[in-house]
């Protein structure tokens, strides 16, 4: 724990030009400390603000100069007060000098730690860098920065600069900005540096990694291209989801007077036999794992299992290269790995670089079989893609994504879009409206990509830590709503929407939705919607667009042509409860008429359809009487006339009596319902 303690000094620009984003800076920094309080509570932190009216730092008292820089907090182990300090940053009055602030920060680190803790000391600068820094007494600004950077490297310090630009610095002097950018870039030549430019408050919140994770390799060893050619690589995780913190369970059983109570809750699992009589707990050594094999469970002991299970050898092997287009993006299964050449191994770095660049040129990817460690129970097959470094300092590397196995893919079939009725196909104007939207609602105009994942904070976690801080002070605080900055992540940017009003208007004009806002619908609503739905469907088949917006016609009688549809329409007319009764009665009569005068070739098909509709209708209305009555009459009729096909047809579609389990009022048991037609099924002639 202790060896990973980080020593960080925050250098915050609070000058007038920064006031617009200071509330975000406050949130970002307090989040940083909040997380440190939970995950790395022995880290040490100091806070320096610059651009203040007063000056208060060691250097100004010792050697003079270094004006307008205030040490808000000397370096100390993080605590709750720091959060409070960072949440109330002073608003400065003068334009600060970030280089002076860096020197003050370095001075604090050097005084406190001498040259110990190399690599654990870090400076974090947040500024907009739009104001010129003071000219040094001798030499150029560049020389000065160079000297500082060298000193920093010698002390084993890192610096991270977050430069807030974009809409906050529109009227700033371009020359000064370029000069400052150049000066900051010198740091990156000399020392461990990360400089990022952000242009929205939202990305400012995501600009600083608020939780430090010590990188751990997943694998160190050979990447085997062929038995002859191997490259030494280290594998890290490139993405790993930061999970919602696992909260512990709190017990309120301990009396309030007990000051030593831990309030912890232990979760215990007991395994009991289910035979009912003995409720005995089975000890762990008497338990054995079982796996399903059909209806049976096959017991397999761990020892047995170990003897026979799949045991691959550790190693990473290339199975082959293939065209990048063969691997679909949606097949990536998990978080992503990073393959780098063994650090310090120049030849391995060269080999990785050569392969990566060749792959890029050929648009190829490699398929790998990985076993990260000895004793791993499975292999991982995945795709290696090249990552050509844009930064001269950083070697080329690879990304690795896990691919699914044959068993992991579920081959569901979906109807082709072309098979849909014409009314579902967009016409030219609709297509044009969609094209406009796709092009105009642009999140990446000319290189300025909004919502870049690298700079997008997780709104849920932001909200949790803010609520946690709030609750620490005020135990009954309500969950805070998302503020405007975070809303940008979950809602479209209002500015972008306003700019493209015409596009949205066109969209509204060309597309029409008939929707039911409620998610869970009663049968009634379903009837209504189904009706409108079937209308649209019919219109698609016959005459495009002719009756799309036609209101449902009031059905007062069940006709001969479409009795089922008429029936459903009538059932859904809710203005008068009599409609239901009338609908059921009319359909019943229709069915009987169809039986006596079967129409056309498919004989009883229509009658059966009507019976099906009636059955469902009667179940929904919980009126089993009329339906069951009818069924008895049908059976009687068929027996008299010796009709075999109709009962068979009905039985095959499960159109038997409505049983008690389906409608409360029925007096038919499920058993009776099932055997209703079986009883009379004529014996097949031998």
């Amino acid at each position: 724990m202790a060896r990973n303690k980080e020593k960080l000094v925050l250098l915050l620009d609070v000058g007038p030009s920064m006031h617009g984003v200071l509330s975000e800076v406050e949130k970002l920094c307090s989040m940083l400390v909040e997380k440190k309080l939970i995950f790395s509570k022995y880290d040490e932190l100091g806070v320096v603000v610059f651009g203040t009216e007063e000056s208060n730092n060691d250097l100004t008292t010792e050697v003079g100069g270094y004006q307008n820089i205030t040490v808000l907090q000397d370096i100390k182990v993080v605590d709750g007060d720091l959060v409070d300090t960072l949440q109330k940053l002073p608003r400065g009055t003068v334009d600060g000098d970030f280089l002076d602030a860096i020197v003050v920060g370095m001075d604090m680190l050097i005084k406190k730690y001498k040259d110990l803790h190399k690599g654990k000391k870090r400076l974090c600068l947040i500024t907009n860098a739009i104001h010129p820094i003071k000219d040094p007494f001798e030499g150029s600004k560049e020389d000065q920065v160079m000297t500082i950077a060298e000193q920093m490297a010698a002390q084993g310090m890192k610096i991270e600069s977050i430069v807030v630009r974009g809409r906050f610095s529109r009227d700033a002097n371009k020359g000064v900005m370029d000069e400052n950018d150049h000066l900051l870039s010198i740091f990156s030549k000399k020392t461990h540096t990360r400089t990022v430019y952000v242009d929205t408050p939202t990305s400012l919140l995501g600009a600083l990694k608020t939780r430090r994770v010590t990188p751990v390799t997943v694998f160190r060893g050979h990447l085997e291209l062929s038995p002859q050619m191997k490259i030494k690589v280290w594998v890290y995780k490139k993405t790993q989801e930061e999970k919602f913190p696992t909260l512990k369970k709190y017990s309120e059983k301990a009396p309030a007077s007990n000051k030593l109570a831990t309030h912890q809750v232990k979760v215990s699992y007991e395994y009991k036999s289910v035979d009912g009589y003995s409720n005995s707990v089975i000890p762990p050594e008497q338990r054995i794992k079982g796996y399903r094999y059909g209806p049976q469970v096959v017991p397999i002991s761990t020892a047995e299992w170990d003897a026979v299970k799949f045991k691959p050898e550790k190693g990473i092997k290339v199975l082959g290269f293939t065209d990048a287009s063969k691997i679909k993006r949606h097949c990536y299964m998990k978080d992503v790995y990073l393959f780098i050449a063994e650090p310090g191994n120049t030849r391995a770095t060269l080999a990785v670089s050569a392969i990566a660049r060749a792959m890029k040129e050929m648009n190829a990817v490699a398929i790998l079989r990985c076993v990260w460690r000895q004793g791993q129970q499975n292999v991982v097959v995945g795709v290696l893609t090249p990552n050509i470094s844009q930064n001269d300092k950083i070697p080329d590397s690879f990304y690795f994504n896990v691919l699914p196995f044959a068993e992991d893919v579920r081959e569901y079939q979906f109807p082709s879009f072309n098979s849909f009725p014409a009314s579902w196909q967009p016409n030219d104007q609709q297509q044009k409206a969609a094209d406009e939207l796709v092009q105009m609602l642009d999140l990446a105009p000319s290189g300025k990509e909004a919502l870049l994942p690298e700079f997008t904070p997780n709104p849920v976690l932001e909200r949790f830590y803010r609520h946690l801080e709030l609750k620490a002070k005020q135990p009954d605080a309500a969950v805070p709503p998302l503020d405007e900055t975070l809303k940008k992540i979950i809602e479209p940017d209002p500015e972008l929407v306003a700019e493209n009003k015409s596009v949205f208007d066109a969209l509204h004009r060309h597309f029409e939705l008939k929707q039911n806002p409620k998610l869970k619908k009663s049968s009634r609503q379903w009837y209504q919607e189904k009706q409108s739905g079937s209308n649209a469907h019919v219109s698609g088949g016959q005459a495009v667009n002719s009756i799309e917006n036609q209101p449902p016609v009031k059905i007062e009688k069940i006709g001969d042509l479409t009795p089922v549809q008429d029936f459903e329409a009538m059932m859904s007319q809710r203005d008068n409860p009599e409609w239901v009764e009338k609908a059921i009665k009319e359909l019943r009569e229709k069915i009987l008429a169809l039986l006596i005068h079967p129409d056309g070739e498919d004989k009883y098909q229509k009658a059966v359809e009507c019976v099906a509709a009636l059955r469902k209708g009667c179940i929904i209305e919980q009126e089993p009487g009329p339906y069951n009555d009818l069924m008895h009459r049908i059976r009687q009729y068929c027996e008299e006339k010796g009709i075999k096909s109709l009962p068979q047809l009905l039985a095959s579609r499960d159109l038997t009596l409505i049983s008690k389990s389906e409608a409360e009022d029925s007096n038919v048991t499920a058993e009776e319902a099932r055997s209703f037609f079986v009883k009379m099924e004529p014996k097949p002639d031998v």
Partner: protein
């Protein structure tokens, strides 16, 4: 029966959605294997897999056995019955001659396959002649018609369940293309007619009859003699039938053991495109890691399943906690408490909605923007009419302009920023390879992305970069090991296949576990081809030079000066120990674990475990 009004009408014919999905929605399959057991099946042979001749009966039976073994893992809820005809004995509910329904104890005739069924069926050939017997069922002068009887029995077996929820099939294995060939004209005509009628009746009830014909090398099974009429083949289908049938037989034997999932909507979500414009989408899980199946804990004495009971116990008082407890996070030296509802509230951000934020070019979707398997979305007009139309329009635009949509998905447990990537339909030889729709890819947040590649920059010099020649050599090597037609999921999971094989061996009490092939092993043979070796050597020479010694170049900077010194001291000290003497006096326990490990390392022994384990390992090694 719970009545969900949405489901009540789901099977309605005029429901547009359902019309398209019907074929995939029947959830179960009922299959009757109908095997001809006439003497002809035993007399005729054809070359089998290992070049040995095997009887047609054996081919059929082993095919069914293989299929059953696959099915018990992939679709164990499907039900099967096995039925022989042209048998000496008879066993069926209708008491018809020449038909024998094979079954084992604790199982209905048409039921889920059990280990016992598979096991006993595996050795059916040994006892077949004794217990069931083979005999021609259709002979001149008799009114018996065993094929007719068999179809009748099969149909009766399949009476169970509704055709709406189950797919019913009869698979008929035979090598007799003219079953009534031996009969006289009138009798033949009559029997042909009644048999065809019987088959038609079955088909009218929604049962499909499939024929798996077995041919001899010298005379091909002639479908048109009789069976074309029985299974309803004509025209082009008829010509296509024989080649596809033999393929089917092969497929049945060599199916992958893979758990099948029925197509299911994971969630219905609302896709909010603009104010007042929200369409309905269904989400599907097309790709999810398959695990070996749930573990059921058993009592090792009785082999009865155990019930797991979870209880919460207060650590301070030992009292049992009934109600769902509060949660807490230690923070600022105190415990900040949360109600479960508060946690849910924190996570609740535009619940159940997918909100469109905008579009980006596909090049912005980096390879490392991935956290979990993607989810497939497909529009539905069921709840919001017009959804499909908008979806198709956007889908086409996104494909045309090569852009993806960024949206916020407010899933209740895991709200996240997602990328929606349009996928065009891809079909190959009439089969759908990629369905049309969009894939929802879960994007990482800033804290989820790590910059580990940036931690080792050499501060003074630029990172080494390969030159043009080295890249050319690499490209040459890549070309040598290039796979043209790779499919992203062509490999079976070796661990899973092994698991299934072990499970089968244990369940059926087989003596040896069948070998499983690790398809993911590299093509050793291919990699030793001279051309590949040459390319590899050339590349190696170009990047490593000719004096590269892998071991010496390894991790020079890895160990710091201090730790190397420490290690050297420890090793020197340990070398001086008189290990044999210490072991004899039982003084090994006085040494530190570090010292013990030095010995173990020196002798290439594992260094894991507690101190006692280390000591005992040393003693074993010394032979004491």
């Amino acid at each position: 029966m719970g009545l969900d009004p949405e489901d009540v009408f789901k099977d309605e014919e005029d429901d547009p959605d359902n019309e398209f999905f019907q074929q995939s929605e029947s959830s179960k399959e009922y299959v009757v294997y109908l095997v001809d057991a006439s003497p002809k099946m035993f007399n005729t042979t054809c070359p089998g897999n290992d070049q040995k001749d095997e009887t047609h009966f054996h081919t059929s039976v082993s095919c069914i056995a293989g299929s059953l073994k696959t099915q018990i893992i992939s679709r164990s809820y499907d039900e099967v019955a096995i039925c022989f005809f042209n048998t000496r004995e008879k066993k069926n509910l209708q008491d018809l001659n020449g038909v024998f329904v094979f079954n084992v104890a604790e199982r209905e005739h048409l039921d889920r396959p059990t280990a016992r069924l598979i096991k006993e069926f595996d050795c059916i050939e040994e006892s077949f002649m004794r217990e069931i017997g083979s005999q021609y069922g259709i002979v001149p002068g008799s009114r018996e018609n065993s094929l007719y009887n068999a179809l009748w029995v099969a149909q009766a077996l399949l009476r169970k369940g509704s055709i709406k929820t189950a797919d019913k099939r009869i698979l008929l294995f035979t090598n007799e293309d003219d079953p009534f060939g031996s009969l006289q004209d009138a009798a033949k005509k009559d029997m042909t007619r009644t048999t065809l009628q019987r088959a038609k009746d079955a088909q009218d009830l929604g049962i499909s009859i499939e024929l798996l014909p077995l041919s001899r090398p010298d005379s091909e099974f002639n479908v048109s003699t009789f069976y074309a009429d029985l299974i309803g083949l004509d025209g082009e289908d008829l010509a296509q039938f024989m080649p596809s049938a033999s393929q089917k037989l092969e497929d049945m034997k060599d199916q992958l053991r893979k758990r099948m999932f029925t197509k299911r909507v994971v969630r219905r979500i609302e896709f909010h495109i603009a104010n007042g414009l929200s369409i309905a989408l269904n989400t599907y899980a097309l790709i999810r890691p398959t695990v070996p199946g749930a573990i059921t804990w058993l009592d090792s004495v009785t082999n009865h399943p155990l019930k797991t009971e979870r209880s919460l116990i207060c650590e301070d008082t030992g009292a049992l906690i009934q109600e769902p407890p509060k949660l807490f996070q230690p923070y600022r030296n105190e415990n900040v408490k949360f109600l479960p509802e508060e946690i849910a509230e924190i996570k609740r951000i535009s619940p159940g909605k997918l909100r469109l934020l905008g579009f980006k070019p596909l090049s912005c979707l980096k390879d490392y923007y991935n956290l979990r398997p993607s989810t497939f979305v497909y529009p539905s007009d069921q709840e919001v009419v017009g959804s499909t139309c908008i979806f198709i329009a956007l889908h086409r635009s996104m494909l045309k302009h090569k852009r993806f949509a960024v949206a916020y998905y407010g899933a209740s447990s895991h709200p996240q920023l997602v990328a929606l990537v349009a996928q065009d339909e891809i079909t190959s030889a009439g089969a759908q390879m990629e369905p049309p729709g969009m894939h929802m890819i879960y994007l990482p947040y800033s804290d989820d992305i790590r910059d580990d590649e940036e931690i080792f920059p050499d501060t003074e010099e630029d990172a080494p970069r390969a030159d043009e020649d080295q890249i050319q050599k690499a490209a040459a090597l890549i070309k040598r090991i290039y796979v043209k037609d790779f499919s992203a999921f062509q490999f079976a999971n070796p661990a899973l296949q092994r698991h299934y094989a072990v499970l089968q061996a244990l369940a059926l009490a087989e003596d040896d576990i069948p070998e499983t092939i690790d398809e993911t092993a590299p093509d050793e043979e291919g990699l030793t081809r001279p051309a590949v070796v040459k390319a590899a050597e050339a590349f190696k020479l170009s990047v490593y030079g000719d004096s590269y010694d892998e071991e010496s170049d390894m991790g020079k900077e890895k160990m710091s000066e201090a730790s190397r010194k420490r290690k050297a001291i420890a090793e020197n000290a340990a070398k001086d120990y008189d290990w044999g003497n210490l072991a004899d006096k039982g003084q090994l326990k006085n040494l530190t674990v570090g010292d013990l490990k030095v010995y173990l390392n020196a002798h290439n022994l594992p260094v894991s475990g507690k101190k006692e384990a280390l000591i005992s390992r040393i003693l074993t090694h010394m032979g004491k």
